[in-house]
């Protein structure tokens, strides 16, 4: 029987060459943790030879709030308000997975209407998150017009969230057992209006950002992820799909009502920064389509919450579960252990940023021009908050 220590020896992980810093040939600079960009509060320790990066070490911990531990000391319902804070731009996936994990462990099933509403909510979340990401990506390459368009338009999506859930950022809507309320009257009409506008906007973004010589010149060939990296590095989502890996949990292991929606997994051929970005643009359009499908397919009435025990002292039988969903950046997962008490014994949140922003980033950074490092990081679409739960 063999024992596993760290990673397997036959994988091609670059082994760091000793760098002679005393030679005067190299300079070490830090990007972050105070960096005005959506790379967020983490830092890259970069060693440069001229303006080429020859070594990159990532440093995290600036955002550590101990969510996983905190959750062990709060009742199940109280955690419902905590989990959304784990990934600030995408709270909904945390809400959904937390609820799904508890439902799994306690044998409760959310009613059908709640499942449709949850799907709608998650796709709206994907749309809002991509809108913000598009802004970050173009800004990282000096195109400051597009962020003004997309982050502003994202606010219209946030308006929808505000109307639907009562909150713009932290929705706290997908409660264990279902959702907190049905859709407000006339809501579908307003969603469709916003979606029509988003269609138009994305066309404009494509013309300005993607059919753009400068953007193409700087992003094509930047940070290439090859298919052989996918499994060893645990690369998921658009980063993986960029190189013909058609993995998408919505298709592979359908949850909620994804098996009733009509869509194809989008994939690219060559996962460089451009390919990944263009793929995300297509997924944003796909999200809009899925939102429309949700509105068409959703039952008009019926319960939106299962019969629940008293939330003040909800005890969940001993057990463990792993639930996962496809967030904008790939597989998002919650591993949860319960021991029969009113508190969760252990929660582990698996965010895709954990691999993308650390191991993958350290590898892709080597050989990159210092001017492209921010763009490279954004092209991996990482959220430091979810690295440090």
């Amino acid at each position: 029987m063999s024992t596993t220590t760290g990673h397997s020896a036959d994988l091609d992980f670059p082994q760091p060459e000793p760098i002679d810093m005393a030679s005067g040939k190299y300079v070490k600079i830090w990007q972050g943790p105070q960096h005005p960009g959506i790379t967020g509060n983490m830092s890259l320790e970069l060693v440069l030879d001229g303006d080429t990066i020859i070594d990159c070490k990532t440093h995290v911990g600036y955002l550590h709030r101990g969510f996983e531990k905190l959750m062990e000391h709060r009742t199940f319902i109280q955690n419902f308000t905590v989990v959304c804070r784990i990934a600030v731009p995408e709270p909904a996936f945390n809400e959904y997975l937390y609820a799904a994990a508890l439902e799994n462990l306690s044998g409760i099933e959310a009613p059908e209407r709640a499942q449709w509403i949850r799907t709608l909510n998650l796709e709206m979340m994907r749309l809002a998150s991509f809108m913000m990401w598009i802004g970050g990506m173009s800004a990282a390459f000096g195109l400051y017009t597009v962020p003004n368009w997309t982050t502003a338009y994202r606010d219209y999506v946030l308006d929808l969230f505000e109307e639907m859930t009562g909150g713009r950022i932290y929705h706290m809507y997908m409660v264990p057992g279902g959702v907190r309320a049905g859709l407000p009257a006339g809501f579908a009409k307003r969603i469709r209006e916003v979606m029509d506008g988003a269609d138009k906007l994305l066309d404009q973004v494509e013309r300005v950002m993607f059919n753009n010589t400068v953007f193409k010149a700087r992003t094509k060939g930047l940070g290439i992820i090859t298919p052989d990296m996918i499994d060893p590095y645990g690369i998921v989502g658009p980063n993986a799909r960029g190189c013909e890996i058609t993995r998408d949990l919505r298709k592979d292991e359908p949850y909620l009502v994804y098996d009733q929606l009509d869509f194809d997994v989008v994939s690219g051929s060559d996962s460089d920064a451009y390919e990944r970005s263009y793929l995300r643009l297509q997924e944003t359009r796909q999200s809009i389509d899925l939102i429309r499908q949700c509105l068409d397919g959703m039952p008009g009435d019926g319960p939106f919450q299962a019969d629940m025990p008293n939330m003040l002292h909800w005890q969940i039988p001993p057990g463990q579960t792993y639930v996962k969903a496809e967030c904008t950046r790939g597989e998002y997962g919650y591993f949860m252990v319960t021991d029969g008490s009113e508190f969760v014994r252990r929660v582990h949140v698996r965010g895709p940023s954990y691999t993308h922003a650390i191991a993958v980033m350290e590898r892709l950074a080597v050989g990159t021009n210092i001017a492209d490092i921010a763009g490279l990081m954004v092209s991996l679409h990482t959220y430091p908050p979810e690295i440090e739960r």
Partner: protein, 602 residues
Amino acid sequence: MNLKDLLSPFFVWQRAFEKPYTTMRPIQDRPGAAAYRGFHINIAETCIGCGSCHTICQNEAIDMVAVAEFAGRPGDSGLRPRFDYGRCCWCALCVDICTASSLRMSNEYTWLTRDPTDYHFTAGVDETSWQENELGYRRAEGYRLFPEKRIEMEMLPAAESVNSFEEVVKGYSEEQAKKEADRCVECGICVATCPAHMDVPDYIHSIRDGDYEKGLQLMYRTNPFPATCGRICTRRCETVCPVGIDGEPVAIRWLKRFIVDQFEAKDYKRILADTITENGKKIAVIGAGPGGMSAAYYLRKKGYAVTVFESQESAGGMLRYGVPSYRLPDDDLDKDIDYIVSLGVEVKYNTVIGKDIKFEQLLENYDAVFMSTGLSVPSSMRIHGEDHARVLSGLQVLADVANGRDPGIGKKVAVIGGGNVAMDAARVSRRYGAEVTILYRRRISEMPADEEEIHESQEEGCSIVQQAIPVEIVKAESEQQVAIRWGEAEMVDDPKGGRPRPVLQEDRMHTDTYDCIISAIGQGSNLDYISKEMHEQLAIEWGKFTPGEYQHTTLEKIFVGGDFANRTADAISAIEDGHHAARGIDRYLNPAVYIETEQQVD
């Protein structure tokens, strides 16, 4: 590089002519969405201060603070939630859990003040500009954080129950009890409302934990009649249970019964482990009803030698002779009583004070006397012909049945009255095969009997004639029968704001013939055993005592409790009187100890 990619970005200029997205906040007001989770609103009048909002808040942003305006309101803790906006995260779980649905949120979201302490505010009490706001987050219909409906109790179907004295209520299974116990929000308003201040949330908690022994121990701290009260308590706790405001109250009584039903009488000694250290003092208790036996239990625990004098051949008082066994089986009553007796309480049965032993002798021979002889004399209807042989008293009928004697009611019976005794007499009559009509002077909704008793008596086929005033008892053709002349009544509002009064309508009179008429319009006390002189000294009015703080009377050594010494005249109040009198007697006999500790408390 291709030309298209070079030119395409210049498309941005087209947007220069479009309307900007930007809203002009704060120059232009932008109201929150209709269901926005903004600042808190509390309808303080509706709120009962159960504190569920405080319990669920993970940020400890809610404190329950006393608000003078609501102090002492029945079923109200007198507390109201105070919010700390330095901690609040506007998750609105407080709104979701709110039992009274008094808490909600406005869609207002900006608040500027120079004084940071303003951000601690008691919603609905402190003035805010958004209190009347009609928009904002509300708990949606169909969304609840605890089950609204109680676990249904299995009952003997009326068609069967009417044929036997088998217990009607079947009791919860373990699974049902746990589910029902889960509904409790542990606010403790029931504790304040229960006359005996039973520790309801904790014994319900013990059911959730499956620790029934602890539950039994908790119950005996305040009530040595849990098997009885688990069946027939008037359960004022349930009337104030906040879960009942927008749903059905927690079935506190059935849960109490569930705990007791888990044990046999022989287990009690081991579980309760009451240890007694004799203190050499002797107490006499008159009447072995719930009040007397409760006093005996708590006095015995304090080490007193207690002798209970009971005129009947068994203990239990009204519980045995007034409550039919389909509501309270003898075995369950015995479970409570036998445990008390097993602690060394001496009960002298068939002993009538004033006849077999003089009251004065008790005063002489014992260190203190606790009187708890209750209300045992049926009240008169004060109408002509009442002394007819076929006019029976409800109490007598019930006592006959309890003693296994045929009450001799015949096949067609009228019951006069609307209290529990009337309902019991009616239901017992049904079990003896009689056709029963209940005549009540007011409306059904005003009957003093328990709602469930009224409901069950109707289920079992008793017909209730409301607004019927008996006027005269008349001889019937047969001596085995009796007739009653009664008139319909109109309800007239009391100009002083009291409850509406029934007024006889002389033009609408009826005369009906029955095999017997059971009068059950109330009871009075029998205090023949105390001397006239003492009667005056004790300041007894209308056969009732007004005891002092420690159930003491105006005379040394004499303590009173039970139906003739409280206004509610139910078992649980008598039990508390007994418990309280035990404290009072102990205090009276050991003043030094108490004065010292009371001073320490001060």
